[in-house]
């Protein structure tokens, strides 16, 4: 797996809504795909496109300034509902490297990490500050430093975030969980014989 950058900066697309479920991130009708690629175009499809299928110019991801945004700032409990990994595939397909929220649904969080999409949990206070700073500010950059586990806003205000050491190592070294598990095959075989 490709390594996650030690740090990077990008402008920030803001979706203030809370409880954004994976049915909104990618509606079920797009789950008939049998591969992972090309889902970025269907990201937030029902919010992003008008009745006739054309992009809604008012939706944040359709504004040209945000086409290259790598950071999504969203409301609390992001990624709830369905376990579909198509959600992080679509977010990564669009170009996102990180999502910032005050909390993530468990399954989404795990799925995101396996696809080199960093879920960053910040405090409510810092989240409100970021919302204020980055809503409709397409030129402002935000830095995410995975090595130091820090989000640094333009102007310098920053906050540390938590990530479990195993996931952090996997991201920074490009090791994936399957590789880790495959190295344990002998111990798995022992367990199978004993049980």
């Amino acid at each position: 797996m490709e390594r996650f950058p030690e740090k990077f900066a990008s402008n920030v697309a803001v979706l203030p809504a809370g409880n954004i479920d994976t049915d909104q991130i990618i509606p079920a009708r797009f789950l008939k795909a049998t591969d992972k690629v090309g889902l970025g175009g269907n990201l937030f499809a029902d919010w992003r496109y008008l009745e006739d299928g054309s992009p809604d110019p008012k939706f944040v991801l359709n504004r040209p300034e945000y086409r290259t945004a790598q950071i999504l700032l969203a409301g609390d409990n992001f990624g709830s509902g369905s376990s579909r990994e198509h959600a992080p595939w679509a977010l990564v397909g669009f170009g996102f490297k990180a999502v910032i929220s005050t909390s993530f649904a468990d399954i989404f969080r795990g799925n995101a990490l396996k696809n080199r999409l960093l879920p960053v949990v910040v405090t409510r206070g810092f989240h409100a500050f970021l919302n204020e700073q980055y809503l409709n500010s397409p030129r402002k950059q935000l830095e995410i430093d995975l090595t130091r586990q820090k989000v640094v806003a333009s102007g310098g205000r920053s906050e540390e975030f938590h990530i479990d050491p195993f996931s952090k190592t996997c991201l920074l070294t490009g090791v994936d969980e399957l590789g880790y598990l495959l190295n344990l095959q002998d111990r798995i075989a022992l367990f199978e014989r004993a049980n």
Partner: protein, 458 residues
């Protein structure tokens, strides 16, 4: 647990891996690209449920005539993958085909004390048997296929104690909707829920499955109920349940599983079942629910900017007015089915209310049994005739309108009362609006064409 190295998550061995056509193809692709094989096909079990049409021209194969090209490709891919890797598939031509979370228990695959995963968030259903069962993503489906193991962090525990008994007309679905309303759609995040107390102990397995099924709608990956005689009675004699001397050995082991009475939980709450009423959702997540006799909440009364904005957005999508009474709201579609409420007892309840009544013109009612077995049992009892004579459509088993991937869907702007688990925007069809409710409340809506308190018929 196989092992845990310092600084790494625990390696959890998976006893049973359930698969369906939507979340597995990319995992098989990953196996192929890495030259890996399936470690334990004997511990893997697959069906086809999400994309499969519920219409038929008489033969199982004819269901595919109603499938679009992409669904057909996905179904064929599942058949190929199972054939290539030697995985048992309850496919379209099997009399046992059905929703994965209905057939696992029904076939006796779901057993107390086992670890069960599936690329599907409603895997929580199987926790009703005292199994640790949870949904996983497609990458993890690949991990389990290749190694039969998963990396897991230890979850926290959350006791949901339900004292008392449910009143007539109030069901397991109402209990779980009330719980999610109370703790919120993120209230269970990071926890495994354990349901305890008199109300839970007195529930049938079907009811327990309904409760555990929706644990994920509170954000909990898993929900579980300690196994007891009800559990063992249900399992005895099922196709894949242990038999003979193995049964006795298993029983002895299962009886030792429940937590001791002084078990300490990270969090606990208590509900009184006797105070619960039939529930209905008004919004766009399963926590947005009120009593069926209640009113649509007013955003003006909500503290917190984000919460108020969320409610306003939901009501705008749903086309509901703050303060409006839910009962009496017109309904276009009623859906009875899904892994939440597509079992025999659900169909019995719904049919008991519908019996001898007519569905009003302009209301579409779809009844989709959760499995082939449920369908045959219902037909043996004549339930299908009750539904059809009232004007409902009686379909072949599958997920159907719960996820609207197979052609069964509601139209933009329509209102549906649905016995399913999610009322998210567009969940049952783009632009469609879902009111989640119990089979009884859905049946009451079916015969009146409006949101109706089922207790009016009792």
């Amino acid at each position: 647990m196989v092992c845990q190295d310092s600084g790494a998550p625990a390696v959890l061995y998976v006893d049973l891996h359930l698969l369906h056509e939507v979340t597995s193809p990319q995992a098989f692709t990953e196996l192929r690209s890495r030259g890996l094989t399936v470690r334990r096909p004997d511990r893997s079990f697959a069906t086809i449920d999400h994309s499969l049409p519920t219409l038929s021209n008489g033969t199982p194969e004819s269901r595919l005539q109603f499938a679009d090209e992409l669904s057909l490709r996905q179904i064929r891919k599942m058949e190929e993958n199972c054939r290539e890797y030697g995985i048992s598939l309850v496919g379209i031509d099997s009399p046992e085909q059905g929703i994965i979370h209905v057939i696992g228990p029904e076939l006796g695959l779901t057993q107390p004390g086992s670890t069960i995963v599936c690329g599907d968030s409603h895997t929580a259903t199987h926790g009703a048997f005292g199994a640790l069962a949870f949904g996983i993503g497609t990458s993890e489906v690949g991990h389990v296929l290749a190694t039969q193991c998963l990396l897991q962090m230890e979850p926290k525990t959350f006791q949901i104690r339900v004292d008392g008994r449910l009143e007539k007309g109030v069901s397991a679905k109402d209990l779980i909707l009330a719980l999610i309303n109370q703790i919120g759609v993120g209230g269970g995040t990071g926890f495994v829920l354990e349901y305890t107390g008199e109300a839970v102990g007195s529930m049938s397995m079907d009811e327990r499955m309904t409760v555990c099924n929706m644990s994920i709608e509170a954000g909990a990956r898993a929900g579980m109920i300690a196994p007891d005689e009800t559990t063992f009675d249900y399992l005895a004699g099922r196709k894949f349940a242990p038999s003979g001397a193995d049964w006795e050995k298993s029983l002895a082991r299962w009886r030792g599983l429940p937590a001791d009475e002084n078990a300490v939980y990270d969090r606990s709450i208590t509900l009184n079942a006797a105070l619960l009423e039939p529930m209905i959702t008004f919004g766009t997540n399963p926590g947005m629910a009120v009593s069926v006799t209640g009113q649509v909440p007013d955003p003006a009364n909500v503290d917190g900017l984000e919460e108020r904005a969320a409610l306003e957005r939901s009501l705008a999508y749903m086309g509901l007015t703050p303060g409006a009474v839910m009962a009496g709201h017109p309904v276009d579609v009623v859906f009875i089915g899904s892994c939440t409420n597509g079992r025999l007892s659900d169909l019995r309840q719904a049919s008991s209310l519908i019996k001898g009544r007519r569905i009003p013109a302009g209301v579409r009612v779809l009844v989709v049994p959760g499995s082939g077995q449920v369908k045959r049992q219902a037909e043996a009892e004549g339930l299908h005739r009750i539904f059809v004579e009232a004007g409902a459509e009686w379909r072949e088993p599958g997920c159907s309108m719960c996820i609207a991937m197979n052609g069964d869907q509601i139209e933009p702007g329509q209102f549906a009362v649905s016995t399913t688990n999610r009322n998210f925007e567009g969940r049952q069809g783009k632009g469609g609006r879902t009111f989640l409710a119990s089979p009884l409340t859905a049946a009451a809506a079916a015969v009146t064409g409006r949101v109706t308190d089922p207790r009016e018929f009792m």
